[in-house]
Symmetry: C2
Subunit: 256 residues, 2 copies
């Protein structure tokens, strides 16, 4: 029974792509067959996994959405066994306006995923920093929403609005969508603001916050420049260990 | 002769709002009459300046755009002399779809600004992390684009696309739009990646990169939680000094 997880938060720079890449890679290392879908026109998940630009031009999420191509045509292998990726590039920028008049435009990705008959255990979707067409499509297609939350003030501000949007989508478009959890990212124990945000969020959301904390770790920001997930770039780093712990927690926590 | 500056970059979390708030406040401290426009539905510039939610609900950028209200009705004073703000909130989320069929939809903000007859020296616009309707409106209305660039790998990736978009807007919609400069943000001299990105960008863009560097400084991330710009929260901090230097550079550099 495959599980589809959206990594979403309209606040920018909170660690969505870093989480999507490294959670997927850690699930694959734990021998779960995983597909990473890049649904952001920035294409950071694709380049962070070292997929070459020419390859992406030929086949990507935009072409699947617009030309109704089967997803399997755009899926490529990665350096990690059990991990495939469906890449994206700048072409995705225009997709929202191309679908404006279409009925059921929010269900486009869900329909394409229904047609994918391979046996993935997990599908992880990296979303752009907005609550527009692509993020809505991802949430409509998903079983779980995982919210990376940077331990900073502005990141806290938008959380209420994101959870309201999730409830709206759950009520109107996808009744089987659940909050997989809130993931505290870029946590710096020396920083008072970090500690205060973490305490506030745990106090407010309790068990909905993952036990696993992702620390601020420079190796995590270096690894995409080598086109590698952290488990291949520096498996002993605190960043790699924390994402492997997150994968374990998601596999075993019974909530997802 | 007022100068309109957009702070834009589709990459999330690079310091757009932090720059918009603290550059505006520093320009005001240098006795330049300044208006800060919040054009992001997240409303971080508004809350970061301590504007209360009820006040924003009554009057904001969304109502000006949709009901063609004069901007002056939505502009409020701040704690800093010479600094006013035009706030925003979540209502802005839907604005793109409401204008989809309108001719000249990209010129909406430019037209509203033409009707604003007060004597600002500078108008600074905080943009959302996308190149959609609001950012395009801001660029069409602006004289200069200032690009905050986080010293990280993913931030470098999107820069080319942003500059291409600027050129497109300059050619088709606003021939007087110029690149005010690229601002290196969250610079950490102990971090090799930071140094490498800074060297690459300066090597590639030369004088188009501001001499002023914004260091990673925790006081900058604390100040919005108090509703204060850094010059009021901690004027001796490296964050406050660097933004005052940036204001001086913009006032005196002859390029803007
Ligand atoms: N735990 C961490 N420690 C250190 N750096 C991190 C960490 N997580 C992410 N980063 C870095 O912070 C920046 C922002 O992260 P990332 O790009 O993953 O966020 P995002 O939410 O996907 O951004 P966007 O909103 O643009 O899609 C990146 O440069 C990334 O390398
Ligand atoms: N120089 C700095 N040093 C330390 N923290 C910073 C610095 N600049 C910004 N920050 C913090 O980093 C986070 C991202 O900055 P900010 O919100 O200004 O970016 P943004 O580009 O406006 O994000 P978005 O794409 O969501 O609009 C914020 O929590 C902010 O407080
Ligand atoms: Mg991302
Ligand atoms: Mg912002």
């Amino acid at each position: 029974m495959r599980k589809i997880i959206s990594i979403a938060n309209q606040k920018g720079g909170v660690g969505k792509t870093t989480t999507a890449i490294n959670l997927s890679a850690s699930l694959a290392v734990a021998e779960k067959k995983t597909l990473l879908i890049d649904a952001d026109a920035q294409g950071n998940a694709s380049s962070g996994m070292g997929i070459n630009h020419e390859q992406i031009k030929k086949n990507n999420l935009y072409l699947c959405l617009i030309e109704n191509r089967p997803l399997s045509e755009a899926i490529v292998n990665t350096q990690i066994p059990h991990l495939d990726i469906l890449p994206a590039n700048q072409d995705l920028v225009g997709v929202e306006l191309e679908f404006v008049t279409l009925k059921d435009r929010e269900k486009r990705l869900k329909t394409l995923l229904r047609g994918l008959d391979s046996d993935y255990d997990y599908i992880v979707i990296d979303c752009p920093p907005s609550l527009g067409f692509l993020t809505v499509n991802a949430l409509v297609a998903s079983d779980y929403l995982v919210v990376p939350l940077q331990c900073e003030y502005f990141a806290m501000e938008g959380l209420g609005h994101l959870l309201n949007t999730m409830e709206l989508i759950k009520r109107q478009l996808n009744p089987t969508l659940y909050l997989g959890g809130i993931l505290l990212t870029m946590y710096d124990s020396r920083n008072l603001l970090s500690r205060r945000v973490s305490d506030d969020v745990r106090g407010h959301f309790g068990k909905l916050v993952f036990k696993t904390l992702i620390p601020r770790n420079v190796r995590l920001s270096e690894s995409p420049s080598h086109g590698l997930p952290i488990v291949l770039y520096d498996i002993k780093s605190r960043g790699a260990i924390s994402y492997m712990e997150l994968a374990e927690e998601i596999i075993n926590n019974g909530r997802m």
